[in-house]
Symmetry: C2
Subunit: 95 residues, 2 copies
């Protein structure tokens, strides 16, 4: 299993744990996963996609309006992804 698939599985497990307990430990795990994603050049919209997939697995009867709402949120994140990519390019130029 590659690193991204492992992180995706971790994400779902942590999300499930957080939904059930709302504990700080899960939020710390979320922070660690997102840092790993950034390190691996995963754009923020990909996290929203991963989130939607995790929710659909955890709740097979997820209402259509929630799914559509996350597609919309994903779209808003694409601009942030592009801005972040530009940041990485600038950073590489400075190194």
């Amino acid at each position: 299993m590659d690193a991204l698939k492992l992180d995706a599985a971790n994400y779902k497990d942590l999300l499930k744990h957080y939904i059930e307990t709302q504990d700080e430990q899960s939020l710390y795990g979320a922070e660690q996963i997102s840092k790993a994603f950034i390190k691996n050049n995963i754009p923020p919209e990909e996290i929203v996609n991963l989130h939607l997939q995790a929710l659909a697995k955890l709740y097979p009867d997820l209402p259509a309006h929630i799914q559509h709402s996350l597609d919309f949120l994903l779209e808003t994140m694409i601009s942030y992804g592009l801005a972040h990519k530009e940041y990485q390019t600038l950073r590489e130029q400075q190194l």
Copy 2:
């Protein structure tokens, strides 16, 4: 009404329209709003927060697990927000 409040109201209206119709026009609107947010230094986690507030207004009986799941997603976006802030600093240094 300030620009951010106006964008927040727009976001909710566009989201509602997209959920009802899934049309491309709403997605284009989402892109425009997110570009305005980036221009105004609004971090990505703030969009997730805005999204949660909009959903809660559109669906007053939004299940607790959906709300908790968005709190979790918000946490993952904070790292992206920090990375983006660093990008802005680099950019300012280059200008």
